[in-house]
Amino acid sequence: MSGAWGGDADVVFNADVMRHQAAELDEELEHVRFSGRSHDGAVTAVVSGRGQVMDLTISASAMRGSHPQVVGPDVVEAVAAARRQASTVAMVKMRAVFDKDQVWHPAPVPPPGGHAVSHWVAPAGADHLQPGPTPPDPPSTVARPQRAGVEEENFEELDFLGDDGGEDEERGRW
C-alpha cells in the first residue's frame, strides 16, 4: 500500500499498533471492576470498566428501615457512582492509547533519571515519513528569551543631562 506520500506503510503499522492496544484495553476494561455506594451506604453497585452493571448489593437494614422506598433511588445513585469511577479511569487509559501517535509525532523520551533530552535525533528512515512537528528545542533554548529579534538601543552616546532643548522644553514642560 505505498502511495504518493511514501509513508503509508508506517501509517498502517501505526494503526495496527493502535488497534492492538485498543483491543487489549477493551479486554482489560471488561475484567476490571469499580464499585460505588449510595450516600447512605445502603446500596453498593459494581460495574465493569465498560460500565456494565455486574453486581448489586442491597443491605437488609435498608429494607427494614422506615423509608424503604429510597432503595430505588439508592440503586440509581450507587450505579452512577460506580460508573463515574469507571469512566474516569477508562478515559485516562483511552487517552494513553489514542493520543500517542508514535510514528507521526515522536515525543522525546526522558532518559533514566527523569531529565529531559537536550537534543532530538530523527529515527532511521524518518525522512520519508509524513510531515511532522519540528524537533523539540533543547530545554535551555526554550527558557532563554529570544534576543535576536529585539530591537536594542545603544545608550552609550546618549547625553541624558545635556541642555540641548528638545521637544519637551519647547512645549514648556520644564
Binding site: V53, D55, L56, T57, I58, V71, G72, V75
Partner: protein, 103 residues
C-alpha cells in the same frame, strides 16, 4: 458533468447521509425505555443510550423479597433494560444506515 462535479455531489450525499444517521442516533438516545420488573415489584427506566436513570419499587411488594433476592432481581432487571435499550439504539442506527446507503 465534470469529475469535480461528481466528487462534489458525492461529498454532499455523504454529508447528508452522515447527518441523517447522527440525527437518528440522537433521537434514539433521547427516547427512554421502561422495563417492568417481575410481578408488581416496579419498573426500571433507562435512557435511550442504555443508562439507568430511574428505579421505582412498590414497597409492599418489595417486602416479599429478602435483601439478596431483591438485589439479584434488580440486577437482572437493570441488565435486561440496558441491554434492550442498547440493542434498540443499534437497530435504529443500522436501519438508518441502510436507508441512507447506496441503492
Amino acid at each position: 458533468m465534470t469529475f469535480e462535479d461528481d466528487l462534489y455531489h458525492l461529498a454532499r450525499e455523504i454529508d447528508a447521509a452522515t447527518a441523517s444517521v447522527a440525527q437518528t442516533a440522537r433521537d434514539a438516545e433521547q427516547t427512554p425505555l421502561h422495563w417492568r420488573l417481575p410481578g408488581e415489584l416496579g419498573s426500571v427506566t433507562v435512557s435511550g443510550a442504555g443508562e439507568l436513570t430511574a428505579l421505582t419499587l412498590d414497597v409492599a411488594e418489595m417486602h416479599q423479597y429478602s435483601a439478596g433476592a431483591l438485589s439479584r432481581t434488580l440486577l437482572q432487571g437493570i441488565q435486561h433494560a440496558e441491554a434492550q435499550a442498547g440493542q434498540r439504539r443499534t437497530d435504529t442506527i443500522a436501519a438508518a444506515v441502510t436507508e441512507t446507503g447506496p441503492a
